[in-house]
Amino acid sequence: MTRREKVLAYLEKHALSIDQGVTTSEISEAIGVLRPNVSKELNQLVREGKIEKINGRPTHYFVNHATKKREIKVEQQKPTIGFAGAAKISEQSIKEHDATNKNEVDVFENMIGSRDSLKNQVEQAKAALLYPPHGLNTLIIGPTGSGKTYFANKMYHFALDREIISKKGFTTFNCADYAHNPQLLMSHLFGYVKGAFTGANSDKDGLIQEADGGMLFLDEVHRLPPEGQEMIFYFMDHGTYSRLGETTKVHHADVRLVYATTEDPESSLLQTFVRRIPIIIQLPDLKQRSAREKLQLLEQLLTLEANRIHKNIRLNEDVVQALLGSVTYGNVGQLKSNIQLVCAQGFLNSMHDKNEITLLFSQLPPNIKDGLSNLADDRKELGNLSRLLEPTMVIKPDAKRGLPEIDSYELPYNLYEIIGDKATLLKDEGLDQTAINNFIMTDINLHLKSFYRQGKLEKIVSSLNEIVDQEIIDLTKQIQRLLQEKEDYPVRDNFIYAMSLHISSFIKRIQSGKPLRHISSDLISMVHDYPDELKIAEHVKDLIEEHYRFPVPESEVYYMAILLVSLKSEPKAGKVGIVVAAHGNSTASSMVQVVSQLLSVDNIVAYDMPLEMSPKVALDGIALQAKNIDRGNGVLLLVDMGSLSTFSSKLTEKTNIHVKTIDMVTTAMVLEAARKTALIDSDLETVYRELREFNGYSRTIEKAKKKKNTVQKKSDHREKAILAICSTGEGTARRIKELLDEILVDNLIDDITVITVSVVTMKEQIAKIQQDYQIVATTGVVNPQLAVPFVSLENLLQGGGESFVSLIEEINNHTAREAVNLEQSESLTEETSQKYLGQYFTFINPAKIVKTLWGYCDFMQQRSNSHLSNAFKISLIMHLAGAIERYLTRSEMSVPDEKLSRIRTDKLYPIVKQANELLRKKFNINLSDDEVYYIVELFNTEKEKIDTQNK
């Protein structure tokens, strides 16, 4: 008999009605199970509705007979509320709905924004589903957390209601899950036959068959390997497919396919997909949605939490604003996670209150508190919200809203249950309320963070691991917790980096017995302006002393205080905003994406204009973006073509925002604009004037620009330098310098020096350095606010400094770095290959052979069942031309015999032989096996390369 059964059995014997209710202690004693464990089971049973409780001290429990009948049905499901069972519950409720008024009900009606920001999307979805005879396949595109899965789910329910699909079943598959193992992925999707591979002991149907008559949702479809794409395309076109290990496509399935991706649809991976899919639904990010919708979303998400805890949730205006402002990149998903976090906290703080939990601004975690100032930056949005907001908001549980759908933002366990159990447990152990709260808050943070920032956090820590001991990272985390909980010091993302680097270099110095740093009077006077940080620094010192058991010198406290001051957030207000508007579906947004990733700036937005868009619509759209990004200091509009450059005055008229327009936008120019506006005190006119001069890409101005460049070079003999800044200029900064020097050498950059600088006398040092050096970038614990890019420590350390290198390349090469995208057009590559053939080969006529060689590539692509990049095709064509030339000049390459015999067993060998037939037919050329060896090797090398890249 399990513990749960024992508890239930006791209740059924002794507590069959309200007046017979028993207490936790009574049960504990009677069945000999520890009280906390009994409590846990009771809570669980209450949640499942199998028993009920009477509130009071102590709480009494009794068996709930009304629900007993349902029990058998529910038993099969996982009983935790809010996860696995949830979708089924909502399905049930929809079924009930069905009975009354089928066909009339429209599941999209209840979706927030269905009449507003999602109106088009909903129309598209309905059209896609209703299109005769079998509907159209659909691709949903949207940023992380914008609700792609949710939307697909709605589509499914709509289809079910309208009897468009015959069978229940919304099958989801995330292509990223098996992206590293295409064969496994394919076997999941399409199934396999017995003997297809080791371990395939019997035939098995895939998800496609499982979804027959229903809907299949493929998430993160950009991770689907080429083989999978091919098979899915075939299936889309013909409705038939083969299982793994079968040669003929004999299986038939009627499946509605819905795909989703976060990827830019213009990306090469997706282009083939986009061509084949008639309906593309673009979901907006949260920022683009109206204030009313944001509020509705917030209410909805809070209601879900209220349903879970069966209590009202009360919150003030400022909490609402902070929550909405706390969403930085993750859209609705992030909002959901943040709401879960604060509700969990509120739940803990209001456990004594049976009816209501209160969310107080003062108790919010710092990253959510920051939301309020984020929102305050956006006056327009704040204004819109304030109009809609009541001073206090009370959210009541609402059964109609149901329980959350399954999605990746849902925790895989019931958080409130954990809190409840743990609190009871700790209370039983005699801890006081504050201690309990501290304990559990740490837990909540840990749970939530580990869940919803999985990838990101792991990566950061692991990259830090390479340069700092794990012990120090752990100690830093401990310090971080202390500061968060005890000192109310706002800990930001870069804290772990900066602090652990600081501690690590300090400890290294102590251990190596180097002399201690002296304290300058500058430092002392500076620190005395920040008594709070000095106090905290003392605490940190104690922690370090306690951990390492050696005394930390007083001077270190001062440096620590400076570091803490530096790490506090800088107010971000008043930056000039940038709107990039360009023709094409994603031209503007991809430029903006590149720049905001490189410089991590937030004062820039894109506006894409498909060619068919009317100027009127474009003007309105741009006006909206201008309003969004304006921080009161005007907006710079960067456009691609002349007709748009007349918009300035119209925009100013429309929005009352000072707008200046520059045309012929390029990525380099957007970068330049972002750099210049990154300074808080830069004004629109200056930035505009400087950028006009920078604007030199049209032919007429090119000469002038070149001249200017040479003049600049002459006048600027100073060597280029990067500043690495830390509180001492010796510890962290030196580590950064070592790291950067390594990156610079690795990228063969020899004309940039890395100079370390201390925060204390930063201004003077920089002024001095600028006499001899031209500073091109800065990095470190604090942004010195120079007119050059600043790279934060976390960006520097991630990905081996790659973003840093591209930044340096941008600096060194403003104009030339218009990325060459070979994967764009086929005709371009055919032309390109012809051009190169002409340049390098003596005996062959490029115009004559290029078609055949191109056909050779296509043949190989088809037969080897792998996608060949255009760059690889060009290499292959060049290699083949070489082989043909060698054949003609009778100087073919030779290969040792043992290699030759090995290659004959390669699975590509027969395919290459077949491809060579093309050459034989066309030119009467028979390539020797030695040459075949090199062609096969060329393919294998490429494959090896792709494999290592994917790892």
């Binding site: 020097d741 050498v745 690795d746 990228n747 063969l748 020899d750 030339a816 770095r817 218009e818 060459v820 070979l822 390109t832 340049q839 390098y840 080969f841 003596t842 005996f843 990049s869 760059a871 690889f872 060009i874 290499s875 292959l876 060049m878 290699h879 070489g882 060698r886 000049t889 009778r890 100087s891 390459m893 030779s894 290969v895 040792p896 090199y934 062609i935 090797e937 060329l938 090398t941 090896e944 390369k945 290592t948």
Partner: protein, 165 residues
């Protein structure tokens, strides 16, 4: 310690496919440096060359000037590069700039209006011949091989046979 240049190779096609991979493995390099002023300015060719790199080995396209600069810069001593140049003139330029080698590998030099064929894969013009003479005078071996396991031929002999030197 100076930079250990494992191979200096003349090939008008610079880095291409299997041939380069073969050499990179044979002479054990940790970097491939494509040295050409023309290519360093041509973004498309640069992209193509960088993408054609053998797995695990990085390729940089740099100017002649930079090649000489980093060769003399101690920070870059950790490189064990294979250097690829387009023609003999560029090769001579960097050797004159101080890069120490005792033999030059010649793969292919394409034919054009100014050049005459010397072997089936190598064509030369007056400037090339002048450069090869210079190498010969400095005791640098002119090694003709397409891939590492070909048997080596001496270009000087071929040039002499054609009466070019």
């Amino acid at each position: 310690m100076t930079m250990d240049v494992r191979l200096l190779r003349i090939d008008s096609r610079l880095l291409h496919g299997q041939v380069t991979t073969n050499w990179a493995k044979a002479v054990n390099v940790n970097r491939i440096l494509v040295v050409s002023d023309r290519v360093a300015r041509d973004q498309t060719r640069k992209t193509l060359i960088v993408q054609a790199a053998p797995p695990g080995i990085r390729v940089n396209v740099i100017t002649l000037d930079k090649m000489i600069r980093i060769y003399h810069d101690r920070r870059f001593d950790i490189l064990k590069p294979m250097i690829l140049v387009e023609d003999a003139v560029d090769a001579r330029c960097i050797v004159e700039g101080g890069i120490k080698i005792d033999s030059i590998n010649i793969g292919a030099i394409s034919f054009d209006d100014t050049r005459v064929m010397v072997t089936d894969a190598i064509a030369v013009n007056a400037a090339d011949v002048a450069a090869f003479k210079w190498f010969h005078a400095h005791g640098i071996k002119l090694d003709v091989r397409k891939v590492s396991n070909d048997s080596s031929k001496n270009l000087w002999k071929s040039l002499s046979e054609k009466g070019l030197v």
